[in-house]
Amino acid sequence: MSTETVTFNLNDRDITVPKGTTVMEAAHKHNVYIPHFCWHPGLSIAGVCRFCLVKVDNRPKLEIACNLQATPGMKVSTLLPEVKEAHKWALEFHLVNHPLDCPICDQAGECKLQDFYMEVGKYKSEMDRPKVLKPKALDVGSELVLDTERCILCDRCVRFEQEVTKTGALGIFNRGDRAVVGTYPDKKIEHNYQDNLVDICPVGAFTSRDFRFKQRVWFLKDQPAVCPGCSTGCHVKVYGKPQVRTYFRVKPQESEVNGHWMCDVGRKTYKHLNQDQRLRFAVAADGKGGRQRVSVAEAIASLALQLQGVAASDIALLVSPQYTCEEYDALFAFFVKKLGVSKVFQWREPTENLDAFDGLLYRGDHNPNTFGLSEALAKAGLPKDVKNGFEDLARSGAKVVVALAPEIEFQFPSLAGQLQKLSELAFVSVWTTSGSAYNVKGLRHLVPLKGFAEKKGTFRNFQGKVGELAKPFPAAVDEAKDVVEVVTALAEVWAHA
């Protein structure tokens, strides 16, 4: 955008914006909200919903703010009665054939049509004729269900397919009020960004197979977080019901890292946070060759005892790049700086291709903090090699191994096998969120950890950009700790032993 500016008048206020700015963009930047459906900042301008009408002085017709460039001296109003009346009628037209099924619609509570109707609607509808019926519950993609009856033909989904994923699976077929959005013959939406269509759909036409009918959105709470699914580190919001220890979905939060989008893999990263997936308590060796459930404090005390019984050269760390910078710092401060441990290995999926990238967001490095781990390793004076260190660990002859298991299990298909192999090493303490670790009976020491949405800290993405986990949910598992808490407690026990 040009460095030149233009000054125009919006609702009797002079506003200066960069040349080329539309009235819509200028208005939103200056807290004047212009209702709209088809306009989306991440997509090209379609100008089809005709909802964002504004009045420009000395021009005969109302004009759409989304395609109207601000020019010097232009005087624009969003408040005149004729503009308000036009907004009411725009909604009336949108609702002519839209089913009034809000009580059973999955979009209720976050539907722009519903919101705008409450805000600027025509409360006494003019429509008293039967509505046009269209196909419902269509299977258009592995993650999606399409209800064409609720669709308001805003064209956002079609443009997303054309402009963002460039897959072009969607089109608008037929004409007039028979027009429907749909997939081209023999095509389905198959990419890794399907749920963005649900996000950008302003009504309940596209719904997510994963989320639909699971929860009314007004019961959910959301927290900002960073997606742990790959090294892009998309800024996201995690939605859950803390009171029942359940998470329901992850959605993107606009940022310079990810723009408006995120991938479907990232959206599934909430699943392991739910209580039924979690390691819910600590486990420690019972001294008789078996193991028993203990408190985390007892588990930490038991680990301290193990560590004191061996030389630093017999201790090894196996670290997954899915933990925060702060957690690595605490871990290395204790084990490397204080105990003098030098055997530090990285837990990597053997088949991963770090250089893979789909051109949009999803990267082959399925860890959110490879950058942060490398930096922490370097800070601790250790080699920051990112190769899979599991074989080296097996050969290292360590007698006590502390392993930070990958948090996002589905990104690590070999996890179960590796846990099993680990259990065959001398004494292995696995710190993890994963309930499946409990099923590997050979593992005689387990510490339950908090997930990414439940702790504070930072990830550094593939470019080194910082993503903050700033406002954690309370952990779904009471016993869970983050690595900083575990190491702090361990250091304390160690100091007093």
């Binding site: 919903c49 005709r50 725009a90 037209f93 002519v96 003019e126 008293d128 004729r129 007039g176």
Partner: protein, 420 residues
């Protein structure tokens, strides 16, 4: 001016056009020494207004093409004639296709386009045959292609057949269709003169408009202005239909009295029939009552004074047998069918109006639905990317205003007092 070869033997042929009416002398004159600016200025001076319906000044439109831009520019002849009642371009292309081609050569030179298209809807097979034959004749005679008249100017012309949609007659809808996409209008700006076909500068002119250009070049702007009115100079093709003795296409000067068009050219109403209403400019034009037809002249200004429009010159004479409710129903049904479905007020509004009319036809509508036709139409108009929404809204509002009694009677009696 336009139908110069009408009635001559082989009226459509190159031979007739060249030998009988000095065809292609204007193109030769332009390419033999006139500058682009001079051509545009001559057309501007002539005051030629677009004959497709909007009546925009042709020379002015040409001047919008950026001059300092390199790369391809395009000229498109909008021959997609689909407004109900309109068949004048079809007649022109069958009668005198070479004048359209010559007009295109001159227009292309004026805007700096080396490539042109004529866009016709698929249904008009006879017209397509004549046009394609004329293009072939012109190529064979060296009147199209490279280095025309030794001027160094190249102009290639193709004929393109659309699948048939009303909205492909709207210039950006036509361009979408020509690009191989769904025929639906594009949001403006950018305007086609700056970014049109394949995002390149493009001028879209109506067939009849282009056919006027050779005459203007040959005879001068002043001579052109001897016909018509000050603001509507030249002649105009009118396709007049209805219960008339001689319906057809007539070329008369703009400003010609409607009464003369009706009674002299079209031979008057058929015996026993009286004028009930007039649709002066195609189905999208607001309807006039017989009283409003008193003293009416056929030009842009006179129509505007009566809150209607000249449109494409499709004069539909409605006689006393016609039910206005049924006429309105088919009019709305047409626009609801042809709405591309892109803009909400048009997509839903045309369908809604059609739905209400269904109710009036089968008497399931509520009495206040007739007024609702008007309120829905009022709120559709002027709010969409193209004018299809207005094209439906304008006649609806005029019928509700002028014939609501008949609509009410139809709703009450099921037939409006007319035998079905």
């Amino acid at each position: 001016m336009i139908l110069q070869t009408e009635g001559l033997p082989d009226q459509h042929s190159l031979k007739t056009y060249v030998e009988k009416v000095n065809g292609y002398t204007a193109a030769r004159k332009v390419l033999g020494g006139m500058s682009r600016e001079q051509v545009i200025e001559e057309v501007k001076q002539a005051g030629l207004r677009g004959r497709g319906g909007a009546g925009f000044l042709t020379g002015l439109k040409w001047s919008f093409v950026p001059k300092d831009i390199t790369g391809p520019k395009y000229l498109i002849c909008n021959n997609d004639e689909s407004e109900p009642g309109t068949f004048k371009d079809r007649y022109l292309c069958i009668t005198n296709p070479h004048q359209v081609i010559e007009g295109m050569i001159i227009a292309a030179y004026a805007i700096g386009a080396n490539k042109g298209y004529i866009y016709t809807r698929w249904e008009y097979q006879e017209e397509i045959r004549y046009l394609e034959n004329a293009i072939k004749e012109a190529y064979d005679a060296g009147l199209l292609g490279k280095n025309l008249f030794g001027s160094g100017f190249d102009f290639d012309l193709d004929h393109y057949t659309g699948a048939g949609a009303y909205i492909c007659g709207e210039e950006t809808g036509l361009i979408s269709s020509l690009e191989g996409k769904k025929g639906q209008p594009k949001v403006k700006p950018p305007f086609p003169a700056v970014s049109g076909y394949l995002s390149r500068p493009t001028i879209v002119n109506n067939t009849e408009t282009l056919a006027n250009v050779p005459w203007i070049i040959n005879n001068g702007a002043k001579a052109f202005r001897q016909f018509g009115t000050e603001k509507s100079p030249g002649t105009k093709l009118f396709s007049i239909s209805g219960a008339l003795n001689k319906p057809g296409v007539y070329e008369v000067p703009l400003g010609y009295p409607f009464a003369s068009l009706l009674n002299i050219e079209a031979g008057g109403m058929q015996p026993g029939r009286t004028l009930k209403a007039l649709i002066p400019g195609g189905a999208s034009a607001p309807v006039l009552t017989p009283a409003e037809c008193e003293g009416l002249t056929m030009d842009f200004e006179a129509m505007a004074q009566r809150n209607t429009m000249l449109g494409s010159g499709a004069v539909m004479v409605i006689d006393d047998r016609q039910s206005m409710a049924e006429l309105l129903k088919v009019t709305i049904e047409f626009f609801a069918h042809e709405s591309c479905g892109q803009c909400t007020p048009c997509r839903e509004g045309t369908g809604w109006l059609n739905n209400i009319m269904d109710g009036i036809m089968d008497r399931s509508a509520k009495p206040d639905n007739i007024a609702r036709l008007g309120s829905v139409a009022r709120n559709m108009g002027g709010k969409t990317i193209c004018a299809l929404s207005d094209a439906c809204a304008m006649p609806v509002m005029s019928y509700v205003q002028k014939f609501s009694g008949e609509l009410q009677a139809y709703l009450a009696a099921g037939s409006g007092g007319h035998s079905k």
